[in-house]
Symmetry: C2
Subunit: 241 residues, 2 copies
Amino acid sequence: MKKSNTYYITENDQPLDEYLSFGLSVDCIVFGYHKGEIRVLLVERDAAPFKGDWALIGDLVNPQSDLSDSANHVLERLTGLKDIFLEQFFTFGSIRRHPVGRVVTVGYYSLLKSKDYHPIASSWAKSTKWFSINELPELAFDHSEILKKGIETLKTKVRYHPVGFELLPSKFTLLELQDLYEALLGYTFDKPNFRKKILSMDLLIPLNEVQENVSHRPAKLFKFDEQRYTQLRKEGFSFEF
Amino acid sequence: MKKSNTYYITENDQPLDEYLSFGLSVDCIVFGYHKGEIRVLLVERDAAPFKGDWALIGDLVNPQSDLSDSANHVLERLTGLKDIFLEQFFTFGSIRRHPVGRVVTVGYYSLLKSKDYHPIASSWAKSTKWFSINELPELAFDHSEILKKGIETLKTKVRYHPVGFELLPSKFTLLELQDLYEALLGYTFDKPNFRKKILSMDLLIPLNEVQENVSHRPAKLFKFDEQRYTQLRKEGFSFEF
DNA sequence: ATCGATAGGTGCATTTTGAGCATAACTCAT
DNA sequence: ATGAGTTATGCTCAAAATGCACCTATCGAT
């Protein structure tokens, strides 16, 4: 990457290199839901600093990697979880938030059905564990603050954005979708009406596939119609629950 | 700031300093509203790169400054505007988004009544100008993309946060409010029903004042009840349009 | 005093939405 | 074939939002 010291530094006469001295990291909040409870996947640190403490799934970003790719790479490296949809929610940039230098961190979150995923600790992660968001330990760095902001964001955002769809497995049943929304919003829906409302939004593509290996009538599978959603948004449609 | 090379670099054996080589910048989108039109304040660059092009109000962050403070500093340095509330909305981190090196930028936006503020270009800004969001020039760097995302964010947010009131003068008529919402949301409302809905929210304080110097029946003036809004939010009220 | 223009408001018919309940259809295990 | 367990769908009734017609108020201009 070209570095030109002729670039206009506006505030004072410091050389450009003084300005290119930030560290960048990503921190992923992996939300899981299971039996009506929202949980968070944390990792136990096996390296200094904060060795032995619980932390979010995060690490420094390699200067050769795209920011948006890094979150997925870090998640896979530490837990083995692949192809998880991650959404950026906030960037934390206090001066002294990281002991090693000036490190700015970008927060991401994802949401998944925890029983379908089996994280395996690797790299500097000694172990992983799901914690109920009501019984959280003290976290390394400023991760408690980051997590708090992430939880807030998720709970407000879920009412107005179809995060629920985007974060489910690509093929899902309507009841799975309903369970997710009930877990997130904290109240239940009438099944026929939930179905009616969701389908009338015209955001789901019915697949010619059904559940397999279930000991009852298999449910039809659907997928989220991303294109249709962006289309409808342009026309002024607003998702609401 | 302490820099320790004993810090655990997880991916490979590169020294820590290789990871502390990012630049960080902020870019501010200043939205204004005037006569039924939503506008954005842009600055003309008087320095390389992109000299002569229009750009968002942004600059590199000094490694000794807090991220959240920097946005305000930059806004004041380039335009003279002080004490503007800025809200962070997204962080852009593509590898090649900045010609000078790996610079990650954090996007902020603010809302203000454009006729009440008088920006004055300084530092590397040659001039400032309000642009209608429907007639935007091509911008420097990836600022067009940033602005697009910011406009999207504003348009989404306006549905469930009373941000609109910040764009209006502190005393406004109901029709001015309606015009603003129509501009932001892109469709029209029925006048009687708009009034009914907004007044039933109980968020406006009617003033004992009316419009002046109009050649027709003067409209009553209202102001937004900030206290009442924070009160209602605590009770679980959610603003919706 | 009257008119044009725009603000402020009432009332009602119509449409849309949501809650609750009932029931049909389908699949597997026995 | 039957019944348990689910999925899938239909219906009613009430409440809320919408669309529209129409009436009145207050200003400046003539």
